[in-house]
Symmetry: C2
Subunit: 119 residues, 2 copies
DNA sequence: CCATCAATTCAACGTTTGTTGAAGCGTATG
DNA sequence: CATACGCTTCAACAAACGTTGAATTGATGG
């Protein structure tokens, strides 16, 4: 990920309604949510939501697929990963302890190795 | 971290000059950089930089200390960690594999356990 | 084929944001 | 105590952003 993409992603997340959309989609998981459902959940007019969804999609933070009359949006987990990596890249020039808290914070969420506690 | 703080942080990062400042400070490490040095590195007028530094400080992404005539800024690693945690919170509702890539991306940067490779 | 529903595009608007130059404040030095 | 230096505050302006209602596209059902 280059600076241009990261910039677009952070700018996209720096807006109340868009941040809520991404959070809702992250929580919803790979199944995603229809645009209408999102509009209700976030509390924004559909016209306005479309604008924000396009922005998020352009920033690589969400993806979408048509399903009948609805358009289903989901979080782009890869895009989110890349964004985190960009922000912390080159963070520990010989000082691993500096950015270790960030790893711990994220690990607490994901428990990727099936090893849930006392890591 | 609550939504309001996360919003301020993402909005702060969604601006070219501010993102460069944060990246420069993340790379610089705990020692930090003086405002003047940052202005040179980022390529922005000192007046303008002050504005952005205040914004970043307010968002909890950087800290500062006075040292003689200079003001030294450094990355607030804890703030960055919290931000990452907020973004990915509740991401793996029974599906750890979904956000595992994010953990991998960050771990590659930090190698916190002294275990550098082949993890 | 027409009516309906879901979602998007478009143009217009009010507000917020980033930038600039001049002036001010705090710290060091002769 | 006066000067120089580093940085910040202030007021003003142009550009970008988010919101809204009306019109449009695409898919489904009578």
């Amino acid at each position: 990920m280059d600076e241009r993409q990261a910039l677009a992603a952070f700018a996209a997340l720096g807006q109340e309604h868009r941040l809520r959309v991404v959070r809702a989609l992250v929580i919803a998981g790979p199944d995603g949510l229809a645009a209408g459902a999102l509009a209700t959940e976030v509390g924004v007019a559909s016209t306005n939501l479309s604008f924000h969804l396009k922005e998020l999609s352009h920033a690589g933070l969400i993806t979408f697929r048509r399903e009948g009359k609805s358009v289903i949006y989901s979080a782009a987990y890869a895009g989110l990963s890349d964004l985190i990596a960009f922000l912390m890249r080159d963070c520990c020039q010989g000082r691993p302890e500096v950015c270790a808290p960030a790893v711990a914070a994220l690990s607490a969420c994901a428990c990727p190795n099936g090893d849930t506690a006392h890591a």
